[in-house]
């Protein structure tokens, strides 16, 4: 029974649109009657799951009223994105971006990375978005990353680690920026991979202070391994294992986060550490 309730709650949570419904009255105020009518028509989808026929049809009808109603294309695209149908998703989100790049470029960039690991495409969209607006480009659709950090991860994936470090460092220096839940972890891993161990330790300590997770202790352990500090290496791995078993690890309901480690990685490393004893 408890599980049924949980599934129901999660189903509701994941049926919430990724992007909030525009205020229809704003269109009327602006004198755009057609978009106002399309927007009101789109409200018919309320109460329907985004994978449902009714949801798709409500937006089709809205598009029938005003084919430039960008929000409808984006909302239609979500179910295709989540089902891995990259072709239909791209076709729909491209229409939304073409009609209103300011509203959708950042989201398309993020989704290209999150769902399809299209690093080049994600960078292109995020950078075009940055050029387009004179305000902070904001966060990923799921709220986990600032888009600058997401862009840095994409640069890293393409082998440009120095560039990735520079982007993250710059972002973290900004006075009004609150570090994201994985920002220091990604920075620490970059330092570790480039052999800057003291800086890596400092980043992982900051990650621990903000959001302690198994990955953080795992990579911290790898730094101590490189530095030949066996005691701390093993200690970190054991802590990492405990955190993982306690479900304190990187998480994304749709896919695996970048720099994620799995229990097997931690246990393999612990085994190596114990063999060397």
């Amino acid at each position: 029974m408890r599980n049924s309730i949980l599934i129901f709650i999660f189903s509701l949570f994941f049926s919430i649109p990724l992007f909030s419904q525009p205020n229809c009255e704003a269109y009327r105020y602006q004198g755009d009657t057609l978009k106002y009518l399309a927007c009101m028509q789109a409200k018919k989808r309320e109460g329907h799951y985004q994978f449902s026929r009714e949801y798709q049809e409500a937006f089709d009808e809205a598009i029938g009223i005003d084919s430039t109603f960008d929000y409808a294309y984006r909302e239609k695209s979500v179910a295709y994105l989540k089902s891995g149908d990259f072709i239909t998703w791209k076709n729909l989100i491209d229409k939304a971006v073409a009609l209103n790049p300011e509203a959708h470029l950042g989201a398309r960039g993020w989704c290209r990375y999150q769902f399809f690991r299209d690093y080049k495409g994600a960078i292109e969209d995020i950078e075009n978005f940055e050029k387009l607006v004179n305000y902070d480009v904001g966060y990923s659709v799921n709220g986990v990353y600032h888009l600058s950090i997401a862009k840095a991860i994409c640069y890293k994936a393409l082998g440009q680690k120095e560039r990735a470090i520079s982007i993250i460092e710059e972002k973290l220096k900004e006075k009004d920026y609150f570090a994201g839940i994985y920002d220091y972890l990604h920075l620490g891993v970059l330092y570790l991979e480039l052999g800057r161990y003291e800086k890596a330790i400092s980043a992982f300590v900051k990650q621990s202070q903000g959001n302690e997770i198994a990955e953080n202790q795992y990579y911290l352990g790898m730094v101590y391994k490189k530095l030949g500090n066996k005691e701390k290496y093993v200690e970190c791995l054991q802590r990492s294992q405990d955190l993982y078993v306690g479900r304190r690890n990187m998480y994304d309901p749709y896919t695996h986060p970048y720099d994620k480690v799995y229990l097997e990685d931690i246990q393999d490393e612990l085994e190596k550490a114990n063999k060397d004893t």
Binding site: N3, F14, F51, I87, T255, E264
Partner: protein, 172 residues
């Protein structure tokens, strides 16, 4: 008297609902849910049965991410060991294999979707797609979700990021 009439009322109401659904489907260009894979006798295993009819959830509805015995590493290991790369220019892009995991953890109704790096539909060499399909069909570690007596059927997919015939990443 009421005891006799009540079942007929229930049957009548459900009957109306069913025919309403069927009628909506006939009029609509959409299936009941986006991405639904109906049984296709030409390609699908007739012995594979979904436990709850057409009420198939999506893997992320359970908020647990990909659920495979041994996690993602176990799955990657299978492909690393069994997939023979066909190193050829042009064999790059994404290949998605989507399927149903039933309430017993068995899989069926496999569907293939392929694109190039510009999100345009393409066909990879069958020596690549046939291998990926066969390996995916042979995976036995899919978990029942939720892991209770009320396990559901759910859609799962694997996306293979291919570069010149090699698997670079597996998603989700």
């Amino acid at each position: 008297m009421n005891k006799i009439i009540f079942p007929f009322i229930v049957i009548f109401l459900f009957g109306c609902q069913k025919s309403k659904d069927e009628s909506s489907q006939q009029k609509s260009k959409y299936l009941r849910w986006v991405g639904d894979s109906k049984f296709d006798p030409e390609v699908d295993d007739p012995d594979f049965k979904a436990c709850n009819g057409e009420k198939v959830a999506q893997y992320f509805n359970f908020s647990m991410g990909l659920q495979y015995e041994g996690e993602k590493r176990a799955l990657e290991k299978v492909f690393r060991e069994k997939y023979n790369p066909l190193s050829r220019e042009g064999e790059s892009g994404l290949i998605r294999i989507r399927f149903v995991v039933n309430c017993k953890g068995k899989t069926g109704r496999f569907r293939l979707l392929q694109m190039d790096n510009d999100f345009q539909e393409k066909s990879f060499n069958p020596l690549i797609t046939d291998q990926l399909l066969q390996i995916t069909k042979g995976l036995t570690g899919w978990k029942r979700l939720p892991d209770t007596d009320n396990a559901r059927d759910y859609y799962q997919y694997l996306i293979f990021k291919m570069e010149k015939g090699e698997i670079k990443e597996i998603l989700p």
